[in-house]
């Protein structure tokens, strides 16, 4: 069964009428992860914001977005607000911008949990600590007492993942979750997204241009270019035998980049295989 069905979605500038996404249809299967890959400006973030109804009035959209059979485009703003977080979770690129800089993290995470579940502070703290331990985050209490600027980007990213784990949404949209991290934390974040999928049993949309993240997390891939789907298939298929010129270019660049690294480690490069 499909958790999310997007059909004939089109998004355009309200003023000029210029199309950003001419027409796009895709679906996310239950408990599977769809990666949306594309260069900057290909419309991947805007599509996800359209699902969450986060695009401002400057953009006009049409088409249908069905989440577990409910037509999202017909819901009131209030209903959508209740859905965000609890049913459809979002993990953003930049933890520094996603949190309120003036509030201790424990307090702002608690406000989210209170709004959705009506939990007391102790309950929130307990559940968050549990989730953080599952993600191998050390000393959760100390972390929750901090302000966002006192933690690294990787740490904030983990907290966002931990919050999502507590909220247990049906669908998680992760928008470039590894891009802003340094390469070592990136590997950790990938591991945590994998365990989020396993622990929460949720479906996921992963927006990324990091092919190694896509390879490890996603089941299916959709390649966007200029708002159009130019290629789709399973992750393994697409990464080993890409058909569209852009996808090929993406995969080849990745191989070119890692070629010397792999060679230095005594492995065979892609070209030699």
């Amino acid at each position: 069964m499909d958790v999310l069905e997007v059909s004939r979605l089109s998004i355009a500038h309200a003023g000029s009428g210029a199309a950003i996404v001419p027409e796009l249809s895709f679906c996310v299967k239950e408990k599977s992860c769809l990666a949306i890959v594309g260069e900057s400006g290909s419309g991947k973030s805007i599509v996800c914001k359209a699902i969450m109804r986060l695009n401002g009035p400057a953009l006009r959209q049409s088409g249908s977005i069905r989440f577990k059979g409910t037509e999202l485009t017909e819901l009131s703003d209030d209903r959508i607000r209740g859905l965000r977080g609890a049913q459809i979770g979002m993990i953003l690129q930049n933890g520094m911008r996603a949190f309120d800089p003036g509030l201790r993290l424990g307090k702002q995470l608690h406000s989210v949990l209170k709004a959705h579940f009506g939990w007391s502070r102790e309950q929130s703290r307990e559940r968050l600590s549990e989730a953080m331990e599952l993600l191998l985050l050390q000393s959760p209490t100390a972390v929750l007492n901090r302000y966002p600027h006192e933690l690294s980007g990787g740490m904030l990213q983990r907290l966002m993942i931990a919050l999502t784990l507590v909220l247990q949404p049906e669908l998680v949209i992760a928008d470039e979750p590894t891009t802003a991290l340094d390469a070592a934390s990136r590997q950790e974040a990938i591991g945590q997204l994998i365990s989020l999928r396993r622990q929460a049993g949720c479906s996921m949309i992963l927006i990324s241009h990091d092919l190694s993240a896509v390879e490890r997390i996603a089941d299916e891939v959709l390649v966007l270019r200029g708002g159009m789907a130019v290629e789709r298939g399973t992750a393994a298929e697409l990464l080993t035998s890409p058909r569209h010129a852009y996808t090929r270019h993406l995969v080849e660049s990745k191989h070119a980049l890692s070629g010397r690294f792999v060679q230095a480690l005594g492995g065979r490069t892609h070209a030699e295989r």
Binding site: E39, S40, G41, S152, G153, G154, T179, D182, A183, A184, S185, R186, Q187, I190, G191, I194, R198, H209, L211, S212, E215, R216, L239, H249, L250, S253, K254, H255, A256, L257, S258, G259, R260, F261, V262, A264, L265, G266, G267, R268, T269, H270
Partner: protein, 267 residues
């Protein structure tokens, strides 16, 4: 030869947790020959950007020195010898400057030596061609550039100064793979043409391996190991090995045996 000798740097931290000093670099020494590319690898907070800033003379060390051909350099005399490209060029120049103005500024030194206006304009065009952009870019503003274009203009600017060394501080980190390859290739070319040396500061071991002859691993303010790129697999110190393993895991795409491990781990 550009040599960093036993350089140390600390910052005072007069935060709400009370005064103290935070030691960022402890006796770091490093050498870079003309035309050589040395990678400086480290996690966030390892002190790698501070090292770059000290080499550029943007900050003064507490101890130790930066020398070029044996001569210790003050802030002024270092100008022209070492240049830089930072992570996002769009945010490192004046937003109201056109590309022409930004590049012209880099030419400041040669205008003094009596370049005609037309002569300098020609130089700017050549510089742009070298980074694969056409003349129309001269009239653009920073916000009109994509990430890759901006980094290429940053490189053009650094090359125009005629610097013998360029500090590349996360210069390709925010770009996606195809654009990364493009910029790294341009860096290789420029190095071939001008014999420019690079200090490539990054957290990305893969990009470092692509470009560098040698790689130095910076950890908690010290260079814990330096190794030739071809022998990367022979890193010995535990931290460097750990870093290497993380990258190996990340590149499941390439070596098959690692792909198998990650599938298992995914369960």
């Amino acid at each position: 030869m550009l040599s960093v000798e036993k350089i140390a740097k600390s910052y005072s931290s007069n935060g709400w947790r009370g005064p103290g000093r935070h030691l960022v670099l402890k006796e770091v020494s490093l050498e870079c020959r003309p035309g050589e590319c040395v990678g400086i690898i480290g996690a966030s907070g390892s002190g790698k950007s501070t090292l770059g800033r000290l080499i550029l003379g943007l900050e003064q060390p507490d101890a130790g020195s930066v020398r070029i051909d044996g001569e210790e350099l003050g802030r002024r005399s270092r100008r022209g010898a070492v240049s830089a490209v930072f992570q996002d060029y769009r945010s490192s120049i004046h937003p109201f400057f056109t590309v022409r103005q930004a590049l012209q500024e880099a030419l400041g030194g040669s205008r003094r030596s009596g370049d005609s206006k037309r002569g300098s304009s020609r130089k700017l065009e050549t510089a742009l061609e070298q980074v694969g952009l056409d003349v129309s870019y001269l009239e653009r503003y920073p916000h009109e550039l994509s990430g890759g274009q901006a980094q290429r203009i940053g490189l053009a600017r650094a090359l125009l100064t005629g610097a013998r060394w360029i500090v590349l501080d996360e210069a390709v980190s925010s770009l996606d793979a195809p654009v990364q390859v493009q910029v790294l290739e341009l860096l290789r070319e420029a190095r071939g043409t001008y014999g420019t040396g690079y200090l490539f500061i990054t957290h990305d071991l893969e990009a470092a391996a692509y470009l560098c002859d040698r790689i130095a691993v910076l950890h908690e303010g010290r260079i814990i190991e330096t190794i030739e790129t071809e022998r990367l697999g022979e890193l010995r110190t535990p931290y460097a090995r750990e870093l290497l393993d993380k990258f190996r895991l990340g590149h499941a795409l390439v070596p098959r045996q690692h792909a198998a491990i990650t599938k298992e781990e995914r369960g």
